[in-house]
């Protein structure tokens, strides 16, 4: 039985929850996997950390929350500070260079990627920051295939924005492929 647990954490408006849904949906629709996605809400719909949990598996998933992620994605400093300690030993951490400054920590494989800056630079629209992240995640984990993610995007994204999204995905994938584990 294979099982992979992820936490996507960032701030409202960064699209972390959408990214989580796209990943899980891709796994279900195009790769015959099972998936559960959930999210936690703050006191109000606004402000605070935005967090989404995803579990991918080839077996039934009962408990839907992630307590120790295999993969942790942090798109803000606050998210990083809150969650970087709960990552599973040997797990994967992806953090954005623009938003997150790393503290010393050894137990995880850490990738500190310039996702945001690259998107802003190459595409000029931070709205696809989360899609870029998905590209990198794909490259680093291979949890789903890149073309499956593309298919999901094709279904969800209005055609006039599709190109931009695909570009962001590719950019992310490249960043992921070229990435090197951060030396703490």
């Amino acid at each position: 039985m294979s099982r992979h647990r992820l936490i996507f954490a960032g701030a409202g408006g960064q699209g972390v929850i959408t990214a989580a849904i796209i990943l899980a949906e891709t796994a279900v629709h195009f790769e015959g996997q099972n998936a559960v996605q959930s999210q936690s809400y703050g006191a109000a719909a606004r402000g605070g950390i935005s967090r989404s949990d995803v579990i991918l598996s080839d077996a039934p998933i009962h408990f839907p929350k992630v307590t120790q992620p295999n993969t942790l994605i942090c798109l803000t400093q606050e998210a990083y500070n809150s969650f970087n300690t709960i990552i599973r030993p040997g797990g994967l951490l992806i953090a954005d260079t623009h938003h997150v400054t790393l503290q010393t920590r050894a137990e995880a494989r850490i990738f500190h990627l310039p996702l945001y800056d690259t998107v802003v630079q190459e595409i000029g629209n931070p709205v696809v920051f989360n899609i870029c992240l998905l590209g990198a995640l794909q490259a680093l984990t291979g949890l789903v295939r890149l073309d499956s993610l593309q298919q999901t995007l094709a279904q969800r994204v209005p055609s006039r924005y599709l190109e931009m999204n695909e570009k962001a995905l590719q950019l992310g994938a490249q960043l992921g492929e070229q990435a090197e584990v951060q030396k703490p």
């Binding site: 006191a43 109000a44 719909a45 606004r46 402000g47």
Partner: protein, 266 residues
């Protein structure tokens, strides 16, 4: 800042979104309190549930954050039992006029000395952008993907018809009016309603292509005018701002005090 003493600063930054009009209301409401030099120990703020209602957590008054729609009902008990207190009730448009509509009209009718501030963003902000009885027709919201067909209330007409004795309207853009009208309302010996159009860029603005907070504020500047202005005559679509009624009529607590006299004499 002059109004710092009225803030519970440890809860800032507040939970409202960037550019939310409710913050502008808070900002300029406190200036009214400041200018009137009301003793904070004699100020009670009673609110319901909604983004707007969260305001009561930020002010250093006695604060009562109640149930959706019921602020005026709670406030009626506070004021009736301790008429020397100044009671102010900030409310969302849904809070005041969807679920809370009945308490609203009855508070107007009773004319107890309470001040209701309706922070009207034409949407249910807190629950994620469903339309409200103030949205009006043709509006996109999470519960009206095909645009609303529900007609809107006119808060001013409704307040006037139900008997409120002080009735005013302004917008988040017109910050001086906010302070002035709330000042007048707080001093008015009877039930007062101040409607303040307040932008919700997150839900109303975004779904209805109204741009960011600044654009929404500019819209208030353009779409409104003073009561009875020339502009209004030329363009009847403009929304009027100003004081629509300011009348004295028997105040409920005062009348009740007399009733007690009568009862004790007989």
């Amino acid at each position: 800042m002059a109004i710092d003493q009225y803030l519970r600063k440890r809860f800032f930054p507040h939970i409202w979104c960037a550019g939310c009009g409710h913050g502008i209301v808070l900002n300029n409401m406190l200036r009214a309190v400041d200018q009137l030099q009301i003793n904070q120990n004699e100020m009670v703020m009673v609110s319901g549930i909604g983004c707007s209602s969260r305001i009561s957590g930020y002010v250093d008054f006695h604060s009562l954050h109640t149930l959706h729609g019921r602020a005026l009902a709670f406030a009626t008990g506070v004021k009736m039992s301790q008429p020397n207190l100044t009671v102010i009730c900030p409310m969302g448009d849904g809070d005041a006029l969807a679920i809370g509509g009945n308490h609203f009209i009855h508070a107007c009718r009773r004319n107890m000395d309470l001040t209701a501030i309706v922070m009207n963003n034409r949407i249910y902000g807190m629950t994620g952008g469903q339309f409200s009885p103030l949205s009006g027709t043709g509006i996109t919201a999470t519960t009206s993907p095909q645009k609303t067909i529900d007609r809107e209330f006119d808060i001013i007409s409704l307040s006037l018809a139900s008997g409120a004795t002080f009735v005013a309207r302004t917008t988040a853009y017109h910050y001086k009016e906010i302070t002035n009208y709330i000042k007048e309302a707080l001093q008015h010996p009877g039930f007062s309603v101040v409607e303040i159009l307040s932008q919700c860029p997150t839900h109303f603005g975004r779904r209805n292509k109204q741009g960011d907070a600044t654009e929404m504020l500019q819209r208030y500047r353009q779409n409104t005018t003073s009561i009875g202005s020339e502009a209004k005559q030329k363009n009847p679509e403009l929304i009027e701002r100003g004081i629509f009624r300011q009348e004295t009529a028997p105040e409920y607590c005062a009348e009740y005090a007399e009733l007690i006299n009568r009862a004790q004499q007989s």
